[in-house]
Amino acid sequence: MIKIDDLKKSFGRNQILKGVSIEVEQGGVTVIIGPSGSGKTTLLRCIDFLERADSGRLTLGDITVDLEKCHKKDILAIRRKCAFVFQNYGLFQNKTALENVMEGLTVVQKKSREEARRIAAETLDWVGLSDRMDYYPVNLSGGQQQRVGIARAVALSPDVILFDEPTSALDPELVGETLELIKKVANRGITMIVVTHEMAFAQDVANQVIFMDEGVVVEAGTPGEVFSHPKNERTKQFLARIIPEDTIYYI
């Protein structure tokens, strides 16, 4: 289970997150939607300490930390329970696909090279890249790179995987297959928080949808509740803008 309590974050004088609280159940898929600039990326980055929150509490499994004053050791412990899938893939440029997946297993989890290699090869095979293991990122297409990024996250067997718009840098024809893969990850029972603009995916895979706007959680609920019966006026307006009238009730 992952729980965020009253998280606040400012950049200079701009308060970007104004007290965000969310809860994600074990094995659940939470999708965060919201207009551009609402703080979705910042929230994910604060969870993985890529950005330092100003205040709030974070519970991940058996660790609870005060975000305002937590130590290096806690940060490392939380990071090792999280994995991150980046919008622009974030692959290690000096490592092959296989090495990208192995890196965390050997360096962080201290697994033997043989075991790491076995896990990495299995995971790359699972994402459909068994023929690209020895390629460097420069030689992989965007879709393939994101598959490696997803394999790298899954291979670490983290408590939660954070996805930040994993398909928005991809060519349209690659979006579908990448979403299929993320669905496959969800089916493995891994807890996930996914920021995305793909509403059909949210409908299909999420068991919780969170709508954020201007640094607060405006509405949270099941996809049915948020998409079909939004309570808040801002949610309604956002959905009306992003989903064409006639598709919303059919998906």
Partner: protein
């Protein structure tokens, strides 16, 4: 041209060439390690230290190397001698020391400053997402630097490091002023009695040219070997 002189000169050059190499290689290794440390401190904005190092780098880059050499060869030993006599400091007297220590110290200090700029720009050329990705898989800062950042920065810095190394070989000729007989000093000493400077300097000019050629080749090979990931040749 006296070719007999040239033919006799070449085999005698070995010890001088060894000194040239020793000075260049040791100053490169020490200077680059220090330069890397300076670059890291400055890119990570470690407050007071970063300021001090900024001044140090700009100072070393503007003062002629020969002055830094005079400093390590004349001024430092004089200071040491003074403190030995006046305050009974238990240090060795190094005045008139003609070993490689003084020129290497000077060139290391200067090389640290010059190379730190090369390393700093190499470090800043690595996209931020590399560090973030490393952190996201749970690496510590040190692991991230050694596994991900340094290997990439190294490849970017290599062409400049090749240039710096060739510069060190050339600058090692200044060690002559601190009594070290390296290639230039050797040629000068050998030519003096008979005034055969033309022959002597012609030979060592060719020698410097050859060294420069060999090392720029070597650095290009290194760059290609370590930079395979950039061109994306598939390992099979």
């Amino acid at each position: 041209m006296d070719f007999k002189f040239i033919v006799q000169m070449i085999p005698q050059m070995a010890p001088a060439l060894e000194n040239t190499f020793l000075i260049a290689v040791v100053s490169a290794v020490l200077g680059w390690i220090l330069g890397m440390v300076i670059a890291l401190i400055r890119t990570n904005r470690v407050r007071v230290l970063a300021r001090i190092l900024t001044v140090y780098v700009s100072f070393m880059r503007s003062v002629p190397l020969i002055i830094i050499m005079f400093f390590t060869y004349f001024a430092v030993p004089t200071l040491i001698a003074y403190y030995r006599v006046e305050h009974g400091l238990p240090v060795e007297n190094i005045a008139g020391n003609t070993s490689l220590v003084c020129p290497i110290a000077a060139m290391t200090l200067s090389e640290a400053a010059f190379s730190s700029e090369t390393f700093r720009s190499a470090l800043s050329a690595i996209p931020h997402d590399q560090m973030e990705a490393a952190k996201s898989v749970g690496m510590t800062g040190i692991q991230a630097y050694f596994r991900i950042i340094f290997p990439q920065a190294f490849v970017i810095a290599l062409p400049n490091m090749g240039g710096l190394f060739i510069g060190l070989i050339k600058n090692s000729s200044l060690a002559y002023y601190s009594g070290v007989v390296e290639v230039t000093g050797f040629a000068y000493t050998l030519a003096s009695p008979t005034y055969q400077f033309l022959e002597a300097f012609f030979v060592i000019a060719l020698l410097y040219e050859a060294l420069s050629f060999v090392f720029s080749r070597l650095f290009r090979i290194l760059e290609r070997a370590f930079g395979r990931y950039r061109t994306g040749i598939v390992l099979q």
